[in-house]
Amino acid sequence: MNKSERTIKLSNRFWMLMLGVIVIISAIIAVLLWRVPADYARIYHDNVLVDVINLTTVTERREIEITRDNANNVVVIEYGRVRMECANCPDGICVRRGWVSGGLIPIVCLPNRVVIVFDSSDNDVDAVVG
């Protein structure tokens, strides 16, 4: 093997190595950018953000009490899901909704103006009517 052949081989190896490094870096960036976002629940009272919870990192049951104006709601958080445990609203629609893991339909307590919105990445539709 003469010197020029060796140089070509080294050059090829260098570019293969560079390509490998770039592929790995690109893959890491892609994973960071395009990873499936965690499902968050955002709790609002009267359109003011009360709390944001990453449902995928909840390790133990947690209760959030909302007592503002005349509202008295208790939100319970567990891993991957949320429910309105109790509320002093007249219809109890929010409580009857039960556990919710995500989706486009928020948990809403209209009389007490409490809304829990889900940031989900796996919705196959953009809105629900009816």
């Binding site: 007249p90 989706g103 009389p111």
Partner: protein, 334 residues
């Protein structure tokens, strides 16, 4: 080899950069408004404050059309003692459309239903109904409220509105959300969005396409099902999808469900063969009016009349038998 590697590197970088660029321009926000919640999603080359402006417009229009906000156009008309009241051009436009819907429905849809809808008060706050023995109004009060309903008693001029019967109240609640959703869509288009989805509690306007260039997918709620349980999906772009159902705002008393779509002839929640009506229309105002009218007049008359209505595209009607009827140009993907 060098060239191939360089091309691969450039392609990778471009792919990553194009992905980054697209991700930065989609915004979405949900807020409580008009006794419901609304979500606005926008994408394109957009001003970050556009969502705030859109919600501000909703608040401004609610301030004109609300029956309960003191000083609104509707409040002033209802409290004018029968005098003509000067109002915003948009209130005139909405009332005029409401009167056209009255004609289309042979008076079943009547915006002078205000006294009756206030009497039933399906949006009542806890404090207002806590002391009530029954949420169902008495026969006498229903009769009194029913007697004030007659849209023929309204005089609408270029910038004034008068209800001749000073006891009567107008309620634009059955069509205001549609008008507001359309107004928001116009604002967003004027401000350069590429695509938007305006969802005001069941009134959806789909502007353009989704960020990935595909059509918007709207699910139709299964009546009396769990939230999000669907009868199917419609795929749309550049139209409105609006649904009404007897399972939405309602309460149960002594085993009877009382829903919010009231029959002006009886004063009670209407009973027809439709439990849910979803309308696909050129705009949400037509969609909202027709979805309520469908439930008020039943499937036979809806089938007869809707295809002649300008701006109507299609409808999905769920009957009390469970049967699902489609009218016009709409495909329900099950």
């Amino acid at each position: 080899m060098k060239r191939i590697s360089l091309i691969i590197i450039i392609v990778m970088l471009l792919t990553l950069l194009s992905g980054c660029a697209e991700r930065t321009v989609q915004l979405s926000e949900t807020r409580l408004l008009m006794d419901t919640y609304g979500t606005i999603t926008i994408h394109g080359d957009i001003d970050p404050e556009l969502l705030d402006d859109a919600f501000a417009l909703i608040e401004e229009l609610e301030g004109l059309f609300s029956m309960t906000i003191e000083g609104s156009d509707v409040w002033r008309i209802n409290n004018s003692g029968g005098e003509a009241v000067q109002v915003d051009a948009r209130t005139i436009e909405l009332i005029t459309t409401g009167l056209e819907f009255a004609e289309l429905s042979d008076g079943m849809f009547d915006i002078t239903i205000g006294r009756l809808s206030r009497l039933w008060d399906f949006g009542a706050a806890a404090s207002d109904i806590a002391s009530l023995e029954s949420r169902v109004p008495s026969v006498l009060t229903i009769k009194e409220a029913r007697e004030t309903i007659n849209s023929d008693q309204m005089n609408v001029a270029e910038n004034t509105v008068q209800i001749v019967n000073s006891d009567a109240w107008i309620d634009l609640g059955a069509i205001a959300k549609g008008f507001i959703a359309d107004s928001v869509a116009e604002l967003l288009i004027d401000r350069g969005v590429s695509g938007a989805l305006i969802d005001l509690g069941g009134d959806v306007v789909a502007v353009g396409y989704r960020q990935d260039g595909t059509v918007w997918r709207i699910a139709l709620q299964l009546p009396f099902g769990n939230p999000g349980e669907r009868i199917g999906v419609v795929e749309v772009s550049g139209v409105a999808v609006v649904a009404s159902g007897i399972y939405e705002r309602q309460f149960e008393e002594n085993g009877i469900i009382y829903h919010h779509i009231l029959d002006p002839t009886t004063g009670m929640p209407v009973i027809t063969d439709i439990v849910s009506a979803t309308i696909v229309a050129e705009n949400a105002l037509i969609g909202e009016g027709l979805s309520t009218i469908a439930i008020l007049v039943g499937s036979e008359r809806a089938l007869e009349r809707f295809e002649q209505v300008q701006g109507f595209i299609g409808a999905v009607l769920v009957l009390d038998s469970g049967e699902v009827l489609t009218i016009g140009d709409v495909e329900l993907i099950v």
